[in-house]
């Protein structure tokens, strides 16, 4: 499992960019009774590391809305190992959990972080674990610790080691410049994937998390591209007249659902990488767009205005049978699904305001999750616990997140420019 962290990071060799639209976190609300946890400073031989691992872990856990991390200044002691833990120090300040750990440099030059999770009331060590990595991987080690702690306490797989892709638009030298960016799930370590003077839209992750598909107007018209993260190698997949949009990788990675209007109006197509062939999936004079896969790879959900207003439909790829899923309101579009296919999230218009809403596909319950206006582009974390979306604040595009139960929220404001179209990577 440790190797996994290393492997992922070794593959990523993107160029960091200097604080362009760099994202920061602003937690706007959490649950009423968050679990209290203290992350004792994790250092190397008592000296601070280039990245403050404990602070990153604390911020990760707080961002979930389920935890409250103790400020370091309030800690009565700073144990670096289990042998230095005095339970009383944590009990009297009401901590439920404590993380202690330290980093050493191994003979091979790698860093090795040993960390333990402790339940204070029961005076129980829940686990002790070692994570290894290079100096450049301190943030990965921190997110790894967060994932492990989060899973042990909540039973939900942590998504702190995942990434975000998004598009930024900034005005430079009098004109808009568009960038496709990838950052860690916490907005840190932003990297440039593509820069263009023409619009970039609709980023979508490959199921292995190693590639992105997107729409770029660089040829003077919209076209779909795929691009590797590790070496930026890219390929133009479509060049039809009209729309070339809304790419969505199939769960097995062998094909892509996309939208072309070459036959007169927007229809869903299936593009197979092996044969480079396009198969038309829908046949209707209305707009059919924004396909997204069910996890079994046999059905797509998509937006269509075939009923007179944009609504979400489900298409069985084999039988081509189409079923309408949304009936609540006159605008439901751009569907995304939780990993278990149970929760549909979408852009929903209510009294002229565009919100993100969820619909339980079993019970049919619809719930508006966001409080802002002009909300769009929802994307669900691979663990299904949070979703991110784009909204506007002070006339600027920003990313925001809300837990799927609407209990906690945070914003990722950027320093500069518009940020839009977040896409949460797979695990």
């Amino acid at each position: 499992m440790l190797k996994r962290v290393c492997r992922i990071v070794c593959l990523i060799m993107l160029m960091p960019v200097s604080a362009l639209a760099e994202l920061s976190i602003e937690i706007t609300s959490g649950v009423d009774n968050p679990t209290s946890i203290a992350i004792s400073p994790i250092m190397m031989k008592g000296a601070p590391l280039a990245e403050d691992i404990s602070a990153i872990v604390g911020a990760d856990l707080e961002r979930s809305g389920l935890f409250s991390a103790m400020p370091r200044a309030n800690m009565l002691s700073n144990p670096r190992a289990l042998s230095e833990v005095y339970y009383r120090d944590w009990r009297i300040v009401g901590m439920q959990y404590l993380v202690v750990g330290s980093v050493v440099r191994q003979a091979d030059g790698q860093l090795s972080a040993t960390f333990s999770l402790v339940e204070v009331a029961g005076e129980r060590v829940l686990f002790t674990h070692v994570a290894k990595g290079r100096d450049s991987q301190l943030r990965d080690i921190a997110h790894y610790i967060s994932d492990k702690v989060f899973y042990t306490i909540t039973g939900i797989k942590g998504a702190f080691s995942t990434r975000l892709a998004y598009v930024t638009a900034t005005k430079e030298g009098g004109r808009q410049v568009f960038r496709l960016m990838v950052s860690d799930a916490d907005g840190a370590r932003e990297r440039l994937m593509l820069k263009s003077k023409e619009p970039i839209m609709s980023p979508a992750w490959s199921p292995d998390g190693k590639e992105l598909a997107y729409v770029s107007f660089e040829t003077g018209r919209p076209a779909i591209f795929r691009q590797r993260l590790d070496n930026a190698k890219r390929e133009q997949l479509t060049n039809f007249k009209g729309l070339n949009g809304a790419p969505a990788w199939s769960p097995d990675g062998q094909s892509m659902a996309l939208v072309l209007s070459k036959d007169g109006n927007p229809e869903l197509y299936l593009y197979r990488f092996a044969t480079k062939t396009f198969t038309r999936l829908t046949r209707h004079f209305s707009i059919d767009t924004e396909p997204n896969w069910m996890s079994d790879g046999k059905s797509l959900i998509f937006t269509s205005d075939r009923g007179g207003s944009p609504q979400i439909y489900k298409l069985d790829i084999t039988s081509r049978k189409i079923e309408r899923l949304t009936f609540n309101g006159s605008y439901n579009a751009r569907p995304r699904l939780s990993a278990d296919d149970r929760t549909l999230v979408m852009v929903h218009r209510s009294q002229g305001i565009f919100h993100i809403a969820s619909q339980d596909l079993v019970t049919g319950d619809v719930r508006i999750l966001t409080r802002t206006r002009l909300d769009e582009s929802p994307t669900v974390a691979p663990n299904g616990a949070m979703l991110m979306y784009a909204t506007k604040r002070n006339n600027k595009g920003v990313l925001a997140a809300v837990s799927i139960d609407a209990g906690s929220r945070f914003l990722l404001p950027s320093r500069q420019g518009d940020v839009r179209e977040p896409a949460w990577s797979p695990f």
Binding site: L192, E218, A223, A232, N239, V259, T303
Partner: protein, 171 residues
């Protein structure tokens, strides 16, 4: 001419666009759009763009020999406004007299989802295309390109700004 009377003709035009809209020629992509991917280390985020006015594509009322080249639409609609028709007829006459390739760039306001707005922008561009073809313009001269909500003429989130963004530009 009333739009109602245009409907059967529009249907014909849709059919004709089926016949011409199937080109899938390989890319002749020049990199004139200024694309840099992440292997290019030169990008340190510093702006090096030239100064060319306001930068955003199109002002709200472009003129081409005195004729309007920007045509506006109502919210969620892709039907031509009556006030657009006179100028569009003049464009048609010019294109018949002096055939030239023309881009019909369709745009939407920021409300609603981006890919859906791409489709809406295309519908608007197609409405202009169909009108011009009905006037006798060679369909092969006209290409509809939708920018959805990606190239707003006005950046504010207000109704007056949105009304400037729901447009087709003839280029």
């Amino acid at each position: 001419m009333k739009l109602e009377t245009l409907k059967p003709l529009l249907a014909c035009a849709i059919l004709s666009s089926f016949l011409v809209g199937c080109s899938s020629t390989p890319s002749s992509s020049s990199n004139g759009a200024g694309v840099g991917s992440s292997t290019i280390p030169a990008d340190n985020g510093v702006s090096t763009g030239s100064i060319d006015g306001d930068g955003i594509s199109g002002s709200d009322l472009d003129v081409d020999g005195g004729i309007e080249t920007v045509f506006y639409f109502d919210f969620d609609k892709s039907t031509l406004k009556p006030e657009s028709l006179a100028a569009l007829r003049i464009h048609a006459q010019r294109l018949i007299a002096n055939p030239a390739n023309v881009r019909l760039e369709g745009h939407a306001d920021e409300r609603g989802t981006r890919e859906y707005n791409m489709a809406l922008g295309e519908r608007r561009g197609s409405a202009v295309q169909e009108f011009l073809v009905l006037q006798g313009v060679d369909p092969s001269l006209l290409e509809v390109i939708s920018y959805g909500e990606e190239r707003p003429a006005s950046l504010d989130s207000t109704e007056s700004s949105w009304s400037l963004n729901r447009r087709v530009e003839i280029k």
